[in-house]
Symmetry: C2
Amino acid sequence: MITKPEFSIPEPTLKRLPRYYNYLKGLLNKGREVVSCTHIGKDLDLDPPQIRKDLAYTGIRGIPKVGYQVEVLLNSIEEFFGWNSCDEAFLVGAGNIGRALINYQGFQRYGFRIVAAFDNSPEIVGKRIDKIEVLPLAKLTNLCLRMNVKIGVITTPDHAAQEVADMMIAGGIKGIWNFAPAEIKTPEGVIVQSENLAAGLSMLSKKLQMLQKSGKIRQEDTK
Amino acid sequence: MITKPEFSIPEPTLKRLPRYYNYLKGLLNKGREVVSCTHIGKDLDLDPPQIRKDLAYTGIRGIPKVGYQVEVLLNSIEEFFGWNSCDEAFLVGAGNIGRALINYQGFQRYGFRIVAAFDNSPEIVGKRIDKIEVLPLAKLTNLCLRMNVKIGVITTPDHAAQEVADMMIAGGIKGIWNFAPAEIKTPEGVIVQSENLAAGLSMLSKKLQMLQKSGKIRQEDTK
DNA sequence: TAGATTGTTAATCGATTAACAATC
DNA sequence: TAGATTGTTAATCGATTAACAATC
């Protein structure tokens, strides 16, 4: 019987913590040593009590009247997410987005590194993308097991996503970072984080549409 | 005084609608003509009443005892988001992710097309990426105004994001699709949709970490 | 000390879930 | 008709916001 961990952390908090991190990093570079929630809230457009709660999840305590020490806070968030140690990941689908993720080194700061790429197109297999070799898809499951890789990235076309996910799961992968706009079914114990860019884009354009419509209504109202 | 539109649509609904769309497209390809919320719910792991509410926002009505007509539903979602007409967008930052977005043609289905790219690196300016010319950043604001472009995509490094956003806003851009892991401040009436990939990745690895920890605790418990 | 800030408890708000009448 | 499904209203749940005591 699988139950929720006693101290489950709200998802919105999990999403905000990296924002604080980026922001605080900027403050540190400017030489700032201490910061209050009021101050953070003004810059990030969030309520101070919420920030306090969020930060408390990382185990840190602020100093009344003073605020939080920027450097301590940064360390606290780093440790909370485990960014000091590095997770190795396999990527499947060496297309546009796949290659971009491989080339982008920035995720190493977040304890994440792509160590191999897989594809089933003979034109791509065997080539190298930024020192990472592209291997045939058939080797995926075995290599997952052999190298004990626990995170997989899916950057394949839509229709291949589920099949690739199944191969990953067979290889013991527990976390899937999915960029394909497809539903992925996984057994309990395997987590999927989908970056549905089309959804993000659609939200943006819909909000824009609504804003313009309400603007027009307003214009008519003021006639 | 700006007020919310009378019929504001919940953000979770906005995020789920494109999921329904993808899923229904798959059903249509399989030749399915009618589908019930119970059925959708099973495949997408959602509660049927929630699906009904979500779909109702697009203005569609189902048929009791029967369900929804797949094709009608698809059209309804397309129209809701305005995917039949195309928004033109400018992209700034022709790095890895920027180039991937330009090369990826798939967003045209969602009424979105990148018509020009901008960068300030002399090595890239003047080149073409998939028929799209890379222009010098200095031309951004004027071209926005001249071409009446309303959507901007930011794929620059962190530190340049705010400056680029300001140039876009000066050019009359109303919606910013941001891929830089940075805070962007905008005046009222300008919408930002941030795709914070680092945040998604961090959430995934944290959940994985929590899952493994709770698993270990359980093992100890059963001793 | 007075003021600012933290940390926490209570109230509010919004979305999800449950219940159920209406309907082809 | 009976069963399945929709659409809607009410109950629940969780996160945000407000209020306030504790503290350097």
